[in-house]
């Protein structure tokens, strides 16, 4: 699919035929035969660099390859191997061209790819961030970049040992880059591209494996986390509505009311004749005892609730110290399991004679939150775990930065 009708010119150094894929656009052209870097901005072609290092690098995407990317066809017309200031860390840049659109870049570093466009506006730079088109980017690194090796053609004049200062600002999946030297400042905006997308677009057989986390690589947990987070949030809201609905319905009416006289109780051995049928699903209850017609100075009640099997037994002591004011004693019974309870009331009045009437009520309490909290914890375990994964991914990302994440 290479552009068949590219213009051909002869290298002024070795005379070899050199394809010119973007005549009129390109300013620098590299001779594929002798490696000379030529200035073709004027009809009088100049040699910028006579020869490059002997080790010829083969670009992963051969020059002249066309591919459809983001809906448009681009041709790879230039290739650069670049490195940081130390020359140790290397990456590769492919210049894409379409005369009806302009230039784009594909940048590959450690198997991670970025699709890069030069910015149409100059971003606003702050101390540790930059602003571009209403988006904020955080400074990730400041360093140097140098050109190690070039192939193909470029729209600017490639100089020998071209060195620029660089700053990368990130807002995954985007990266805003600033390259500058004494003369000019150039900004570009890149977007992380999954290797498979590049592979499919340009028909590459084997892609280099991804190493580590790239500065603007979107966390693979992001989408999943967001999805799970919202699912958990919706579920929590539903649970909350159910909970509140249950609360509002109140159930303040007693589910069990029994009235017995002191004499009757004594005759029955304290046993109330009616069983308490509790069918509330483990709610809290209040046991309210109202005593009337008792004349003594104090009264103790020993109230027991027992299922026939005796597995669930609840026992509360109630005291009436002042006959006039504390005719009603209230005790709480937490988490009363469903069942049929035999209620036994044993009054003690010490040396004073026992008399009067007892009204025993079992009142369900406002529904408790423990189930809700338990369900919530279960529900949020997975999203929190994903959040942790996401956090550790980001930590790995920022470990390569000169700056702390803010």
């Amino acid at each position: 699919m290479a552009g068949e009708k590219a213009k051909v010119l002869n290298c002024v150094q070795c005379g070899g035929a050199v394809q010119w894929r973007a005549p009129g656009f390109s300013i620098t052209l590299v001779c594929g035969h002798c490696g000379a870097v030529l200035d073709v901005s004027n009809p009088e072609i100049q040699v910028l660099i006579q020869a490059q290092e002997k080790t010829r690098l083969k670009p992963l995407i051969p020059l002249g390859t066309r591919g459809k990317f983001h809906g448009e066809t681009y041709e790879v017309i230039g290739f650069m191997q670049r490195a940081d200031g130390t020359g140790q860390y290397k990456w590769r840049e492919y210049l894409l061209f379409n005369p009806y659109i302009g230039y784009r870049w594909l940048v590959e570093a450690d198997g991670h790819w970025n699709y890069v466009i030069s910015t149409k506006q100059k971003p606003h730079r702050r101390d540790k961030s930059a602003q571009y088109l209403n988006k904020s980017y955080q400074l990730f690194l400041t360093g140097e970049a140098q050109v190690l090796y070039v192939l193909g053609e470029f729209y600017w004049r490639v100089k020998k040992g071209d060195r620029v200062s660089v700053q990368d600002f990130i807002n995954p999946p985007e990266m805003l880059s600033r390259e500058w030297d004494a003369g000019e400042e150039v900004w570009s905006i890149g977007e992380y591209v999954e290797p498979e997308v590049v592979q499919a677009a340009f028909g590459i057989k084997a892609m280099p494996a991804r190493i580590g986390v790239s500065p603007n690589q979107p966390s693979p947990h992001d989408a999943k986390y967001r999805r799970i987070f919202w699912a958990a949030a919706v579920m929590t809201l539903l649970l909350l509505l159910i909970q509140l609905g249950t609360n509002r319905s109140g159930r303040q009416d007693p589910v069990y009311v029994e009235v017995a006289s002191a004499a009757g109780l004594k005759a029955a051995g304290g046993k109330l004749p009616k069983l308490a049928h509790v069918r509330a699903g483990g709610l809290d209850f209040l046991l309210r005892t109202t005593v009337s017609g008792y004349a003594g100075p104090y009264l103790n009640l020993d109230v027991q609730m027992k299922t026939p099997t005796g597995i669930d037994t609840f026992r509360v002591f109630q005291e009436f110290r002042n006959a006039a004011e504390r005719a009603t004693a209230v005790s709480a019974i937490a988490d009363l399991p469903d069942g049929d309870y035999q209620v036994t009331v044993q009054p003690f009045s010490g040396p004073w004679p026992m008399s009067g009437e007892f009204r025993i009520e079992l009142i369900p309490q406002r529904s408790q939150w423990s189930n809700f909290v338990g369900a919530g914890l279960l529900l949020w375990f997975y999203p929190l775990w994903l959040k942790f994964r996401r956090w550790s991914f980001n930590t790995t990302r920022w470990m390569q930065s000169d700056f702390a994440e803010e």
Partner: protein
């Protein structure tokens, strides 16, 4: 149908699509022509501009800010780092603008009245700030250029070889300004950078292999 007038030098019919522009270069012989009513006078001759690999051509149409335009003329300038084209955008009654094209980068700018006093070229160094309509414009770049050639219908004539110095400013909201000093005169243009597809162009030139 666009107005066509016979060239006073070679007799070829020279298109005058815009009635507001009185200068044109004959596409056959390179005569610089001025229209006086319905006949043309030659003001000299220029070499015909060679085609470059630009997708634009005289007659290309598009729309900018919702207004239709047609490219009627072209100025090609050279500088130390290569060359660029300036295409005259005729909006009919809606004014005019220039579409600059350099190595696949595009901008549209419109002529603006020069605020007084006009800054001195010597004062404008990289980083200098200039208040333009209450907005801060900062000098990014200065470059000297030479007219390589002209073609089509233009609002004025330029002779190949004419020198100019352009000072580029970047302003707020992604806008830029260019102050151009040529032949003792200064001209101001304000505009913005864009992508060619933004202009929804038609009648572009067909390029080999694309």
């Amino acid at each position: 149908m666009a107005l066509q007038l016979p060239c006073s030098s070679c007799g070829g019919s020279v298109p005058f699509p815009s009635k507001a522009l009185f200068y044109a270069v004959c596409p056959y012989c390179g005569s610089m022509l001025v229209r006086k009513d319905l006949h043309l006078e030659s003001l000299g001759q220029v070499a015909l501009l060679q085609d470059d690999y630009s997708p634009l051509q005289i007659g290309s149409e598009g729309s900018c800010d919702g207004k239709a335009f047609v490219l009627t003329g072209r100025i090609r300038r050279c500088w130390a780092e290569g060359a660029w084209n300036e295409w005259f955008m005729d909006f009919g009654d809606e004014g005019e603008a220039w579409l600059a094209e350099a190595q696949g980068f595009y901008s549209v700018s419109r002529p603006e009245p020069l605020p007084k006093p006009v800054p001195n070229l010597e004062q404008l160094q990289v980083g200098t700030v200039w208040e333009l309509g209450n907005k801060r414009y900062q000098v990014d770049d200065r470059r000297e250029a030479v007219v390589e050639g002209i073609a089509g219908q233009l609002p004025f004539l330029l002779k190949p070889g004419e020198k100019s110095v352009g000072v580029d400013f970047s302003g707020p909201d992604g806008r830029f300004a260019t102050l151009e000093f040529a032949a003792g005169e200064a001209r101001l243009y304000v505009g913005e950078y864009l992508e060619l597809p933004d202009l929804r162009m038609k009648n572009l030139r067909e390029l080999d292999g694309w």
